[in-house]
């Protein structure tokens, strides 16, 4: 399969994502520029982490109007796979390709920590390689990752299985203390209703080699590769 990784002005993790895909996962991945309109024949488009447009106004609010976002919206409407990591997640929410919004961490501090995630739904293109309830250790690094959605909408999302990843304690139990950014219902990653667009605050591309402290991030890339087969 082929991957496209978008660079916006201010993206930071575009190269790390390309490295994870090409050098670690052995995938064919092309860089895409925010002014591009073509998606390079990608089967999955990744919006990486960083601070697109300096996080001006709100995280992701300006990047949403980049020319490439029109193509990505069309691609998603046609069923193409789209994944947003951290700032990419914020952009997808601002673009209304994902429900909800991300706002200032409850602590008001930038948090850079390895956290435990629980796979809440393994029947998605992004978690197919995992078992339900599987625990992953993946780092987060963000100042604005507190997930918010209206109560009734979040309830519907949970019923439909759109909450794919949740922050939990290292033993897998739900814990207020383990929900470092204070996200509503400890939401770490969500999908759209059609399950072809996925956003998460943790960084799977930073957890793909033992040298980085863990390899659990590979599970997401493996799942997508399996789904594209």
């Amino acid at each position: 399969m082929k991957w496209g990784v978008v660079t916006f002005p201010g993206s930071l993790d575009d190269r790390d994502t390309l490295y994870a895909l090409r050098d670690v996962m052995g995938q064919d991945a092309v860089p895409l520029w925010h002014k591009d309109e073509a998606l390079g024949g990608a089967d999955c488009v990744v919006l990486p982490g960083g601070f697109s447009y300096g996080d001006y106004l709100r995280c992701g609010a300006i990047a949403r109007f980049s020319p490439i976002m029109k193509s990505i919206a069309r691609f998603a409407a046609d069923g193409g796979l789209v994944m947003g990591i951290c700032n990419g997640f914020q952009i997808l929410c601002e673009a209304h390709l994902l429900p909800g919004a991300l706002t200032r961490n409850r602590s008001l501090s930038f948090i850079c920590e390895r956290v435990t995630l629980r796979v809440e739904n393994s029947n998605t293109p992004f978690t197919r390689a995992a078992r339900a309830g599987e625990l992953w250790r993946i780092p987060i690094k963000h100042g604005e990752g507190l997930y918010v959605a209206p109560d009734d909408e979040l309830r519907n999302m949970e019923e439909r299985g759109q909450v794919i990843l949740r922050y939990v304690a290292s033993d897998g139990r739900e814990s207020e203390a383990a929900n470092l950014n204070g996200s509503t219902r400890a939401v770490a990653g969500v999908a759209n209703e059609r399950f072809n667009v996925f956003g998460l605050m943790p960084h799977p591309e930073h957890a793909v080699e033992p040298m980085l402290g863990g390899v659990d991030g590979r599970r997401i890339f493996e799942s997508i590769i399996e789904s594209a087969r």
Partner: protein, 81 residues
């Protein structure tokens, strides 16, 4: 036409910034302070033939970009003249 836009955290949405400022004010001895919220203030010069026309345009700007209705409320003032 000059327009002033005020964007504030939506009621009921956790506003950790407002809370931190409220705590800081209390620690300075300002005991009678509550309901502190921190928002954004945007000033625009809008070409329009009437205040109504300016308002209609600014409302669209707020809905599409200046505020995120999921987490923020907005209001604005069009300055006469």
């Amino acid at each position: 036409m000059r327009v002033k836009v005020f964007v504030t955290p939506r009621k009921g949405i956790l506003d950790p910034q407002g809370r931190a400022v409220e705590h800081a004010l209390k620690s300075l001895g300002f005991d009678g302070v509550s309901g502190v919220h921190v928002g954004r203030y945007i000033v625009l010069d809008v070409e329009a033939r009437s205040p109504d026309e300016a308002s209609a345009a600014v409302r669209r700007m707020c809905d599409q970009l200046l505020a995120n209705p999921l987490i923020e409320d907005y209001r604005f003032e069009v300055e006469p003249g």
